[in-house]
Amino acid sequence: MSHSITLTVNGKPREVEIDDTRVTLLDLLRERLHLTGTKKGCDRGQCGACTVHLDGRRINSCLTLALSCDGADVLTIEGVAHGDALHPVQAAFIAHDGFQCGFCTPGQIMSAIGLIQEGQTGDDPERVREAMSGNLCRCGAYAGILEAVLDAQDRLREANQRRSA
């Protein structure tokens, strides 16, 4: 039996026919909606490459059943920049060499944006490392990733202060 679900992906409402109940949110994004920025690493919740935001929270899309996302709001790496202007976290990853091959990077960036929104770590590098531990990087770019997250968090904070001043 085919099910029809509606969800918002990067601000756009989408209606999708799901003919196979087994489809995960990750496969829906990559194979049906052709948003291949989100990566499939382990496909089992162990690496974080598939991290997207579901209703504003970072989650692993590989362990999320697509059918369960009916009515949800999904944000992927394709949706974070404003036109040609990179998201501050994207810019910080470039500035701090937060990657090498780049395979883990979309997941790292979505995770970092989520981490900053959660607001639990402050500037404590140990708390940031702990809160990023769900994202593995085979190239070992962890030092640059940490710098990028801390720097982007600073910039976002300053931008917010300027806006509210």
Partner: protein
């Protein structure tokens, strides 16, 4: 993954009816179930998605001092609820020591309680496993078993339960509210999970259709807030399951231990409440000697199930250290590395 029918009930009654059929399974966030289905370890023919059920996502602090948490509350939301973390700090610390930020954002209270073992042979469909396939044998007995059980295991199965959340919860006398085909009933969390015996395929006492709707903590649970810690020893300090963990909660009055609670994780097929150890502690003056005596009492029946005798000594030291940390007092904020032996708090003695 096998094919399955997907059902999204609109009410608890509909959910129970749909999940009572043979081969049906509840689906919460799916972080354990979808993983097991991808590996072919479980193959339900119907998934009953409970994540859209109304009313099961509330954290209620009641006027009598008790707490009720809906089964769909996400692990991260519970751990970061300020009132919850203040009243039940060891539970918040345990939650934050589990899995990753992404998984905690998704994982539900009900799903965490019912997560299945991480025994590698349970996951390996090519091998023998009595839990996965009753009567097929247990490849862990002659395999890699250094992380397996030291308490409550049987010849049929030596697997452990891997939830961190459950360990401090059993110290606080948590109760699970179930809705089932015959109505509502309560089960003490301590009685929810089963020891393997001859039927390791049954992880718990739930019957087909039984839905966990909430978790409750009695009023006394918050009386331990000033001295409650969770300590989790693992092979890397984040994003790893426990080798051994301990939850310790003390009520200290006039320099003496007025009440004590202790439980171990990663040692048995269920969160292991150590009541004999609690009796050793009650009435004593907090000191390392008595913690070690309590640890000895907790481990009287411990025996290796394979290449894991080291876990008995590890458990002994983990208990003594968790009690040392609990007696020193709950920190104002969960440490940067939650429940880690490497998280050092200024001024607090770490080692027993």
């Amino acid at each position: 993954m096998n094919n399955f029918e997907y059902v999204r009930p609109r009410s608890v009654t509909e959910a129970i009816a749909a999940a009572s059929a043979p081969g049906a399974s509840y689906l919460a966030a799916g972080t354990n179930l979808i993983d097991l289905m991808k590996g072919g370890i479980t193959h339900p023919d119907r998934l009953v998605d409970v994540t859209h059920l109304p009313g099961l996502d509330r954290i209620e602090h009641r006027s009598d001092g008790s707490l009720r948490v809906g089964a769909l509350v996400r692990n991260a939301d519970l751990a970061h609820d300020p009132d919850f973390a203040r009243a039940y700090p060891s539970v918040a610390e345990a939650l934050l020591s589990g899995a990753s930020a992404q998984l905690r954002n998704a994982a539900t209270v009900g799903g965490n309680l019912l997560q299945r073992t991480r025994c590698a042979y349970f996951y390996d469909v090519a091998g023998a496993c009595n839990k996965r396939q009753p009567g097929s044998g247990c490849d862990a007995r002659d395999g890699e078993n250094r992380l397996h059980a030291i308490l409550g295991w049987s010849e049929a199965c030596i697997a452990t339960h891997s939830s961190d959340f459950c360990v401090p919860l059993v110290t606080l006398d948590a109760v699970v509210e179930i809705e089932g085909r015959r109505g509502r009933r309560d089960i003490a969390l301590e009685d929810l999970h089963r020891l393997p015996g001859d039927t390791p395929e049954h992880d718990n006492v739930l019957e087909p259709g039984d839905l966990i709707v909430a978790l409750r903590l009695p009023p006394a649970a918050r009386s331990f807030a000033a001295h409650a810690r969770y300590l989790k020893v693992r092979e890397r300090t984040s994003y790893a399951f426990a080798i051994v963990s301990a939850a310790a909660a003390l009520r200290i009055e006039q320099g003496r231990i007025a009440d004590a609670r202790l439980a171990l994780g990663g040692v048995a097929a269920k969160p292991w409440r150590a009541r004999a150890a609690e009796q050793v502690l009650i009435g004593a003056t907090p000191a390392v000697g008595i913690y070690l005596q309590a640890a000895t009492a907790a481990l009287t029946d411990a025996k290796p199930s394979g290449d894991n005798a080291f876990k008995i000594e590890l458990a002994r030291r983990t208990i003594a250290r968790a009690l040392t940390l609990a007696a020193a007092g709950t920190p104002a904020r969960v440490p940067a590395l939650p429940a880690s032996p490497f998280s050092v708090l200024p001024g607090v003695l770490q080692h027993a």
